[in-house]
C-alpha cells in the first residue's frame, strides 16, 4: 500500500465521525521505484492532506518532507517533487495495519493490500 492510498482512506465504521487519518502499524516496509510523472504529482499535490502524508511517511521511516503545508509554488521545485514522489508512490506498507483513530479497530494490510471491509456489527 502506497501512501497515496493511505491518504485517501478512512475508517468508515458506523458511528465513527473522525476516521481520518488512519494510524499506521508497521510490520514491513518496502520501496519500489516508480516512473516520475510531474503532471500526475502536481495534480495530486492539491488533493493530498499534507499533514497526514507527512505523519504517514514518518511512520514508514522517511523524514524528508517539510512539516508545514508547503506553498503551492514548491511544485515547481524538482527537489521537492522528487521527495513528494518518493513519499507518495515509492514507499509501500507491505505488511501491517491501518488503525482507526477513534475505535482502534485494525484494518490489516497484507501483501500490500489493505482490507477495508467492515464486520457485520460495524455497518
Amino acid at each position: 500500500m502506497r501512501l497515496l492510498t493511505h491518504n485517501m482512506l478512512s475508517s468508515n465504521i458506523k458511528g465513527v465521525t473522525n476516521g481520518f487519518p488512519l494510524l499506521i502499524e508497521v510490520e514491513k516496509v518496502i520501496e519500489k521505484p516508480v516512473d516520475f510523472n510531474p503532471d500526475f504529482l502536481k495534480n495530486m499535490f492539491v488533493k493530498v492532506d499534507w499533514k497526514a502524508l507527512v505523519d504517514a511517511s514518518r511512520s514508514l521511516g522517511y523524514a524528508e518532507l517539510p512539516e508545514e503545508t508547503p506553498e503551492s509554488s514548491v511544485i515547481d521545485s524538482d527537489d521537492f517533487l522528487r521527495k513528494f514522489h518518493h513519499a507518495l508512490l515509492e514507499l509501500h506498507l507491505e505488511e501491517g495495519a491501518l488503525v482507526c483513530p477513534e475505535t482502534e479497530r485494525k484494518f490489516p494490510v497484507s501483501k500490500g493490500i489493505p482490507n477495508m471491509l467492515l464486520h457485520e456489527d460495524e455497518v
Binding site: 502506497r2 485517501m8 482512506l9 476516521g19 501483501k111 482490507n115 464486520h119
Partner: protein, 475 residues
C-alpha cells in the same frame, strides 16, 4: 472535410461512439460529429462518412481506435467502374498530385465485401486504375501512401453482411488505420491470471477509449476482479486503482506469480497505484476527498444469486434479529458475511461514488444489463443529476438479454442536496426495476464468457449460428 470510415464488422453499436470519444480525447470540441451513410447503405454497413476538421485528427483517431479498419480520403465513388473513373478524374488535382509524385512510394490494396475476389481479378482491377497518373515506386511493405479500392457488391441479407441495395465502389487514400495487433497481444488466452468474468481485451480497450484514458490520468475500477479493465487503461498510460470485495481475487489470485499484479507485469505495464479490498456499498474514502479520479470504468456485479455481495449479510438478511456481534477474540481473522447486492442498489452506489470522486468532465463507463422485451428501455437507463449520458452501446447476448455500455460525463458538482435528490430518484428507479431482483438468470447470461455466452443461454436458435456472421448487434 468528409472522410470515409471503414469499420471492422464487429460491435456495430459501439463504432460511432468510439470515434466520437476519440475525437474528444484528441481535442475536438463541438456537439458530436456529423455522419452520413453512403447512398443505399444500411446503417449496419461497414462504411460511414464522418466529417472531421483535420486529417491529423482523422489519423490520430484511427490509430488509437479498436473498431476502425481505416479512414480514407475518398477520391471517387460510383456504382460502376465507369462512374468511379469519372469521379476520380473530376477530383481536384491539387488533392491528388501531391500523393502521386515520382519520389514517393505507394501501394494499392483491393478489398471487397460480399464477394471473394481472386488474385487475378484484383490485379486486373489495379491495372484498370491506369488513368490515375501514379509516378511513384511501388513498395508493398512500407509504402508512404496506401490507396484502397473498396467494393461492395449488391447482395441481400443472407450472405453475412448487411443488405446493400446497390453496388458501390470507393477509391481513396488511407489516412490512418487501427492497431489491432494490440488484441492478440492482450487476448485473455495469454493472460496469466484469469477469472470467469474477466473482460475480453477488445471490450476493455473500447471501454478505456470511451473513458478518454490518456497518460497521467488516474483511473479507478471499484469492481476490479482480475484487473482486465485496468490493464487496458494502463496500456494507454493511465495510473490505475482497483478495489474488490473478494480478497481472494484481489490479493491472493493463484499464487505469487499469478495475481492481479502479475497481469500488469506480464505486459511490462506499471503496476496499479493501489489495489484494495473494499465494498462499493460502503466506500472507505475519507469524507473530505473529492474529484480525484479522472475516470471510473467497471463491469459491476449484477444479478442476485451469482451477483454482487455487500457487507453485513446476516444483519440484512434477518432484519428482525439483533445485529450479529463479532466476539472480540475472533475479530482479527473474522470473515464478514455478505448479503445480496441488487442491481439498482449497485448502480446507485456506483453513481454516487462517481459523482463524488470524479473530476468535472470525468467519465463513468460501465455495463448495464437490459431485458430485450423492454421496448421503452431508452428511458430506463440510470440517471444522476451530476451526469449526462454520452452514449449507450448495445451488445445483444441472447434472445432475451443485452448488455449496454453506458458512458456518462460528470457535468455537475456533487453536493449533499444532489446526493439526496439522487437517492430519491434511485428509489423510484428501484420500484420500476424490482423485476430484476426476481431474475436470477440475468447474471449468468450477461456475464458468461464471450465464447460461450450464446449457447449458455440455452437458446438453440442462436447457438447453432457460428460467431462473426452478420447478426446486427450480435457481432
Amino acid at each position: 472535410m468528409w472522410y470515409l470510415c471503414m469499420f471492422f464488422h464487429r460491435l456495430l453499436d459501439y463504432r460511432k461512439a468510439e470515434v466520437e470519444s476519440l475525437a474528444e480525447l484528441f481535442g475536438y470540441v463541438g456537439d458530436g460529429l456529423e455522419w452520413k451513410l453512403p447512398q443505399h447503405h444500411h446503417p449496419d454497413s461497414p462504411f460511414h462518412f464522418v466529417n472531421l476538421p483535420s486529417e491529423e485528427l482523422a489519423r490520430t483517431i484511427a490509430n488509437r481506435s479498436i473498431l476502425i479498419k481505416g479512414i480514407y480520403e475518398v477520391w471517387g465513388e460510383g456504382g460502376s467502374y465507369e462512374e468511379l473513373e469519372e469521379a476520380i478524374k473530376n477530383y481536384p488535382d491539387d488533392r491528388k498530385l501531391p500523393y502521386l509524385t515520382a519520389d514517393s512510394t505507394f501501394r494499392i490494396i483491393v478489398d471487397s465485401f460480399g464477394k471473394v475476389m481472386s488474385f487475378q481479378e484484383q490485379n486486373d482491377r489495379i491495372k484498370g486504375l491506369a488513368y490515375i497518373p501514379f509516378k511513384g515506386r511501388v513498395n508493398l511493405k512500407s509504402p508512404e501512401h496506401k490507396f484502397w479500392l473498396m467494393q461492395t457488391d449488391d447482395y441481400g441479407v443472407s450472405n453475412g453482411l448487411p443488405p446493400v441495395a446497390q453496388r458501390t465502389i470507393f477509391f481513396g487514400r488511407e489516412v490512418g488505420a487501427a492497431d489491432r495487433k494490440l488484441l492478440p497481444t492482450y487476448q485473455l488466452k495469454s493472460r496469466n491470471y484469469l477469472g470467469p468474468t474477466a473482460m475480453d481485451a477488445e471490450m476493455a480497450f473500447l471501454m478505456a477509449n470511451q473513458a478518454l484514458v490518456k497518460p497521467g490520468k488516474l483511473v479507478y475500477d471499484p469492481f476490479v476482479g482480475t484487473g482486465s479493465i485496468l490493464v487496458a487503461a494502463a496500456h494507454f498510460g493511465a495510473m490505475t486503482m482497483g478495489a474488490d470485495i473478494d480478497i481472494r481475487v484481489v490479493r491472493d489470485g493463484r499464487g505469487p506469480d499469478c495475481n492481479v499484479w502479475s497481469n500488469f507485469k506480464q505486459y511490462g505495464l506499471p503496476a496499479p497505484v493501489a489495489l484494495l479490498r473494499a465494498d462499493n456499498n460502503l466506500p472507505p474514502w475519507r469524507p473530505s476527498l473529492k474529484e480525484v479520479f479522472d475516470a471510473i470504468i467497471c463491469d459491476p456485479p449484477y444479478g442476485v444469486r451469482a451477483g454482487g455481495r455487500k457487507s453485513g449479510g446476516r444483519k440484512l438478511l434477518k432484519g428482525t434479529v439483533d445485529p450479529y456481534t463479532v466476539p472480540d477474540d475472533k475479530r482479527t481473522d473474522h470473515i464478514p458475511s455478505t448479503g445480496a447486492y441488487c442491481l439498482s442498489e449497485c448502480v446507485h452506489d456506483l453513481l454516487d461514488v462517481a459523482g463524488k470522486m470524479l473530476v468535472m468532465g470525468g467519465r463513468l463507463v460501465y455495463f448495464y444489463p437490459v431485458l430485450r422485451e423492454d421496448d421503452s428501455r431508452e428511458n430506463h437507463f440510470p440517471e444522476h443529476p451530476c451526469f449526462r449520458l454520452v452514449s449507450s452501446s448495445e451488445q445483444i447476448l441472447s434472445s432475451r438479454y443485452s448488455r449496454v455500455l453506458l458512458t456518462m460525463v460528470k457535468i455537475g458538482l456533487y453536493t449533499e442536496e444532489i446526493a439526496e435528490a439522487a437517492r430519491i430518484k434511485h428509489l423510484e428507479f428501484r420500484e420500476n426495476h424490482l423485476k430484476w431482483l426476481e431474475d436470477g438468470n440475468l447474471h449468468s447470461s450477461v456475464f458468461a464468457s464471450t465464447d460461450t455466452q450464446l449457447p449458455a443461454t440455452g437458446d438453440a436458435k442462436f447457438s447453432k449460428e457460428p460467431r462473426r456472421k452478420y447478426r446486427g448487434k450480435y457481432v
